[in-house]
């Protein structure tokens, strides 16, 4: 617990000391149980508001800056996520969930506009531009996927100068995040993945991670008088790597069974023999190095990083007894803080740097901060007509929590609000304090449900509601329609107690839901088309025949017939006479 507290203090210090510097990057490594490693990359670039207005960009990327100016966006949060954070094994989320999104893509922004319509028009401009910038299908965030949350999000920046801000929020739960989204992400950085910690970011390893999320946050930061503002851009990548999996070489990634000699057997078992082996968990911390894990070497520091105390680029949070060897040709400094659980390194410029951790039997276990809440959501029921959704929020702590629960449902999933039940296992009192609900309009907008609830200490809150599934039009089905339809993850925000003390807030998100809608047999229309064509051809053929055929009476037909007439016709054709 000590190491965790110090870690928090350290982070807070970091935030204060770096507010004024122009560019800063940091990689924080934290070994997690079950041979996994959390790597949190954070890149922060500042630009003064005055320079930003005059389009004088230094560290702030011009491409993104111009989009923000064009769309009148004052604050932007963009998330690309894959996988799940396993809170039971890994403890608290990085950044307390504030730099994390639901599976797929999530985007929310504060846009300056005079009216709702204008705000939405600007939002459309924003998503379309970002779609191009990040090679993601953000342009599919249309009115049906856009909501305007009222309680779940608050601006992180200072918006004293801005008036008429509109918050819009959109998600794409089925968007597959991959390398084509990482490349533009790296392009926004001043060192563009060539130097500094961003040189470690490799698509193969990043997208092989058990959990990864990429975040971009832009917000204005002002001093206490509200003058002298900065535009701050935070880019972060959090990934949980499976050490054994990541260490597999690129050319031999198949996890073949290891030779039996490399498996430690439990010799105390009576059946243990040359062909029988009960595997033992070694209980040691695995060996790894940056190069093995990320598949690339760290190419020194990014020269644009601010120097000075507290600005170390690479930090690792392990118990003090863990051996760490440094491999580099350049100059580096090491500093320890937080009772030696945090070791930070100032990287050399221009030469490779590597951390090597040998396999080690540890006497002290890893200390993991417990998450404030656990949340899980699932669909109950079966069939294609209706179902019910169930969310389970568990508060393991000794303090009551006030939370906001946000659901953004697609229009074809129609919740029955009268069936909404919130039930706490330890308390008979209704935990719901406030409900905000905006019902869906078919093909126009989705449902938006926000509930403020109190989860009593050491208890579990179960929230259920029934819903009906709409039948879509034939053309509204996406490709692979039989897979089902994704419903966006629910967002849970902890309102109080807010232990972070900053404006980022504490969030967690559930997994998305897969909704199976009644799906037509898509080959049927072709059968119908073929059948209809056949019928039409038959009908048309007959009518055409009747229309164009000339009917003559039997007596009108020339009497000549038989062999003679045929021969005459042949002769006439041969001689070319008609």
């Amino acid at each position: 617990m000590l190491s965790f507290l110090s870690f928090l203090v350290f982070n807070a210090l970091l935030a204060c000391s770096l507010a004024s510097s122009d560019y800063h990057e940091r990689l924080l490594l934290r070994p997690l149980p079950q041979s996994t490693l959390l790597a949190s990359f954070n890149f922060r670039s500042n630009e003064t508001s005055a320079a930003f207005e005059q389009q004088n960009f230094r560290y702030f990327p011009r491409s993104l800056g111009q989009i923000l100016q064009h769309a009148h966006t004052k604050e932007l949060h963009l998330r690309f996520s894959v996988g799940r954070w396993d809170a039971e094994s890994w403890g608290q989320r990085p950044w307390q969930g504030a730099r994390e999104g639901g599976n797929g893509v999530e985007l929310w922004a504060w846009i300056e506009a005079d009216s709702d319509d204008e705000a939405f028009a600007r939002w459309q401009t924003l998503v379309n531009s970002l779609s191009g910038l990040f090679c993601a299908s953000l342009n599919f965030i249309d009115a049906t996927r856009t909501i305007r949350p009222v309680m779940a999000f608050e601006p992180e920046g200072d918006h004293r100068n801005a008036t008429n801000l509109h918050l819009l929020h959109g998600t794409l739960p089925h968007e597959v995040v991959c390398t084509e989204n990482l490349t533009p992400f790296l392009k926004l950085l001043p060192c563009k993945g060539k130097a500094g910690i961003s040189s470690l970011l490799d698509g193969h390893k990043l997208f092989d991670a058990s959990f990864q999320t990429m975040a971009i946050d832009v917000r204005p930061v002002c001093d206490t008088q509200g003058q002298d503002c900065l535009l701050e851009m935070d880019q972060s990548v959090d990934m949980v790597l499976d050490v054994a999996r990541s260490k597999r070489p690129q050319d031999n990634p198949i996890p073949r069974p290891v030779p039996i000699e490399q498996i430690e057997c439990d010799t105390s078992k009576h059946y243990n023999g040359h062909d029988t082996c009960y595997p033992l968990n070694k209980g040691t911390e695995p060996s790894w190095s940056l190069k093995e894990i990320f598949g690339r070497s760290l190419k020194g520091a990014c020269p644009l990083t601010d120097a000075g105390p507290g600005s170390e680029t690479l930090c690792i949070n392990t118990p003090p007894e863990r051996d760490i060897h440094i491999e580099t040709d350049g100059q580096f400094t090491e500093s320890r803080s937080s009772a030696d659980t945090m070791r930070c390194y100032q990287l050399p410029i221009g030469s490779d740097f590597d951390l090597v951790l040998p396999e080690q039997q540890m006497s002290t276990g890893l200390v993991l901060p417990e998450p404030q809440l656990y949340a899980a959501r699932s669909i109950n029921g079966h069939g294609q007509e209706r179902g019910s959704a169930q969310s389970v929020i568990t508060n393991p702590s000794a303090r009551g929590m006030e939370v906001v629960y946000l659901e953004s449902l697609p229009w074809f999933m129609k919740p029955y609000l009268h069936t909404l039940r919130a039930h706490v296992d330890t308390d008979s009192e209704n935990p719901v304090r406030e409900t905000y609900y905006r019902p869906a309009v078919d093909r126009q907008r989705g449902s938006h449900l926000e509930i403020r609830m109190v989860v009593p200490p050491a208890s579990t809150l179960t929230l259920t509601y029934d819903f009906e599934k709409a039948i879509l039009r034939y053309t509204e089905y996406p490709p692979d329609a039989n897979r089902g339809f994704d419903a966006a993850p629910a967002v849970v925000r902890v309102l109080s107690p807010n232990t972070m003390g900053d404006r980022k807030g504490i969030y967690l998100r559930t997994t998305p839901l897969l909704l199976s809608l009644p799906t037509p047999d898509f080959s049927m229309p072709y059968n119908v088309i073929i059948l209809t064509s056949t019928v039409m051809a038959l009908g048309f053929g007959n009518i055409f025949n009747l229309v164009v055929r000339r009917f003559v009476g039997a007596h009108e037909v020339p009497q000549t017939g038989g062999l003679k007439a045929i021969l005459q016709a042949k002769i006439a054709r041969l001689t070319g006479r008609s």
Binding site: G381, S388, N482, D486, L513
Partner: protein, 663 residues
């Protein structure tokens, strides 16, 4: 219009009126013969994998090497649990899963059926796909005890070692759930019910952890003890509850992988040696139809199919040279294929009859068989309806009662029909009558009414005809009594249905014996009661009412069976076949005929047929009854509903009509 009226005219043709029984019998014969044509090459097709994404047997499998050593160790661990309590067993299995870094949970369940309590525990682990988002999952099952009540040592050990092995791969796009049900049928039923929140939380625990929508399930049944056993073939079991089947693609994938990749032959429906001859194919069809028709759970996979989760069981059979690693690699390859799926399995057939592992008949080919049999009842129902609308076939000239007077509106239509009739019947004036057939309608025909005569004269234009009055007279049908009787009999089917499903096992056998005797007595008793309670002068029910009773009963039967044929072909076929004679029985005034007919019916009553089937199948009556009760309470089986609410009422009505002849 002309076509319709000439068709209507046909109703009165004596030849047409004699036709339905022959037609009905023909349909039954063709329906049965149809089935015998199915095993021929021209009527069946080779199987093929329809879903492109499955790509069966396209991946290398790596399960082997040191995994074999670990498998053997796990098998010893499992063997050591053979005598331990359910709680200890669950704990140990959960520990092994936990050592592989999986999320583990267990579920207790209690069912009671026929006064027997099923009390056991499921253990399951979830392997979270590294990049999956918990929206889809596939299930690997190894029930603790298989269908023969043997402990599934190697199967459970294989599931444990596969879980450990699968954990190392990063390519899973879906979660993998490894489930060890406490027993083969109820355990998986409890689990899958709870997974979809369709369970009773009082007796079945809710699942503490869940994953996404289930896309497929594969169960392994390999009851070899701690020292192993080499098997010869894989027996693929695919029948679900109520005769529902998994998507044929899943079955094909398993056959393809086992045969094409691992060299393990597949077999089905307990056909241990299949020479692919006509006889063997027919036998396979017959066995699968029996299995479907009974609708019982055939393995841990059966519970999944009603939830639209395609599932199969792989059971090792025989003595051969294939070992557990071969089975493991088959499972690995099947899971790699399922993992490739982009969509829920939907491409291939859900209704099929398999002739052998690589040959099948699709629903379009076999369905007419059951439909023809169902249609035979509908035809007889129509015939009975028409018959009930006629006065007794030979008009009685001695009758002193005046014939009923036709109302004006009907009188207008009838003569027209009558004229048509004459046109068709009498060849001499036909040419002239048809050439100016428009004339008679404008000219008003005269109708001569001769009250005291049994014949009537009709005139159309210049042609006249004398026909029996019975052809033109109108008979009203009494509806209430026949309909009430048929409905009452159908409703009374609830009594045995409830009794058989709720009696304790100690009394089930006695109930069966009592019911077997009672079932024969009931129609006679009913017939007697009705004859006795009504006025003896009129002898209710009249022959016309009898016709209507049979008509309604057969109509229901035909309708229900044709509906049933689309969901459970085999059950509809067997019930249809057993009911086929019911179309042809009628009340007879002759005691001997009545006795023979009734004796014949008594032999084909539902319980007698069931008893005979049990004798032939070599199963204990009590076992079947207990399983049926379990099926009703646990698996959601509705074969009993068909037996007691469709088959028995139809039989009972027919027997009742015959029994009227005794009194």
């Amino acid at each position: 219009m002309a076509l319709i009226s000439s068709l209507l005219a046909l109703r009165r043709d004596a030849r047409v009126q004699k036709l339905p029984p022959y037609l009905s019998a023909l349909l039954v014969i063709v329906g049965v013969a149809w089935l015998f044509a199915l095993p021929l090459d021209s009527y069946s097709r080779r199987t093929y994998v329809s879903e492109n994404a499955l790509l069966p047997a396209q991946v290398h499998t790596y399960f082997g090497g040191s995994e074999h050593n670990i498998f053997r160790a796990y098998r010893h661990e499992v063997a050591a649990l053979a005598d331990s309590s359910v709680a200890d067993r669950s704990k140990k299995l959960a520990d092994i899963f936990r050592e592989s870094n999986l999320k583990v949970a267990s579920q207790k369940y209690t069912y009671s059926a026929a006064n027997r309590t099923i009390d056991n525990e499921n253990v399951y682990a979830i392997l979270q796909g590294p990049r999956a988002d918990a929206t889809e999952a596939i299930v690997l099952m190894a029930a603790w005890k298989n269908m023969d009540n043997d402990i599934n040592y190697s199967g459970v050990a294989l599931a444990l070692s596969m879980a450990r092995y699968f954990k190392k791969w990063s390519l899973w796009s879906k979660d993998i759930i490894i489930l060890i049900p406490g027993d083969s049928t109820s355990g998986s039923q409890a689990w899958v019910d709870a997974y979809h929140d369709a369970h009773d939380p009082e007796t079945i625990q809710s699942l503490p952890i869940k994953s996404g929508a289930l896309q497929g399930a594969v169960a392994v049944d390999y009851p070899a003890g701690p020292w192993g056993h080499r098997y010869d073939k894989l027996h693929i079991v695919y029948d679900g509850t109520n005769g529902q089947l998994p998507n044929l693609d899943l079955f094909n994938t398993a056959v393809n992988i086992a045969g094409g990749q691992m060299g393990i032959a597949s077999t089905l429906q307990r056909m241990w040696s299949h020479s692919d001859s006509y006889r063997d194919r027919l036998q396979t069809i017959f066995r699968s139809m029996v299995s479907q028709g009974l609708g019982h759970a055939t393995g841990p996979h059966s519970a999944f199919i009603p939830y639209h989760v395609d599932a199969i069981t792989l059971k090792t059979v025989g003595d051969g040279y294939h070992d557990e690693m071969g089975l493991g690699r088959t499972v690995e390859s099947i899971f790699r294929s399922l993992n490739n799926l982009l969509e829920h399995l939907h491409q291939s057939f859900f209704f099929y009859l398999l002739l052998e592992a690589k040959r099948f008949v699709s629903i379009g080919t076999y369905l007419p068989s059951a439909m023809l049999i169902a249609a035979s009842f509908s035809i007889m129902a129509i015939a009975k309806w028409v018959e009930s609308g006629r006065p007794s076939s030979v008009p009685n000239p001695a009758s002193t009662k005046p014939p009923p007077k036709a109302s004006d509106s009907k009188a207008k239509d009838k003569p027209t029909e009558g004229t048509k009739k004459t046109d068709a019947k009498e060849p001499a004036p036909s040419k002239q009558a048809s050439s100016d057939s428009k004339q008679p309608k404008t000219e008003k025909e005269e109708k001569e009414k001769e009250d005291s005569s049994t014949t009537t004269t009709l005139q159309s234009g210049s042609s006249k005809s004398i026909i029996p009055k019975a052809f033109t007279s109108i008979v009203s049908r009494p509806f209430f009594f026949p309909l009430a009787l048929v409905l009452a009999v159908h409703l009374s089917g609830l009594v045995p249905l409830i009794a058989f499903n709720h009696f304790p096992d100690t009394e089930l056998l006695a109930l069966f014996r009592t019911a077997s005797n009672l079932i024969i007595m009931v129609p006679i008793f009913c017939a007697f009661a009705i004859r006795w309670s009504t006025n003896m002068d009129v002898a209710r029910p009249t022959p016309q009412e009898n016709n209507l009773i049979q008509c309604f009963s057969l109509l229901f039967l035909g309708m229900l069976l044709s509906t049933l044929a689309t969901i459970n072909f085999s059950l509809a076929f067997f019930v249809g076949l057993a009911c086929a004679p019911l179309s042809f029985v009628r009340e007879s005034s002759d005691y001997i005929t009545t006795g023979i007919l009734y004796g014949g019916l008594a032999v084909i009553n539902p319980l007698a047929v069931a008893h005979l089937a049990m004798k032939v199948g070599g199963v204990e009556i009590l076992d079947v009854l207990v399983k049926a009760s379990e099926g009703w309470h646990v698996w959601g089986m509705w074969t009993q509903v068909v037996v007691w609410l469709v088959w028995w009422p139809a039989w009972n009505v027919a027997a009742f009509v015959v029994a009227l002849g005794f009194f």
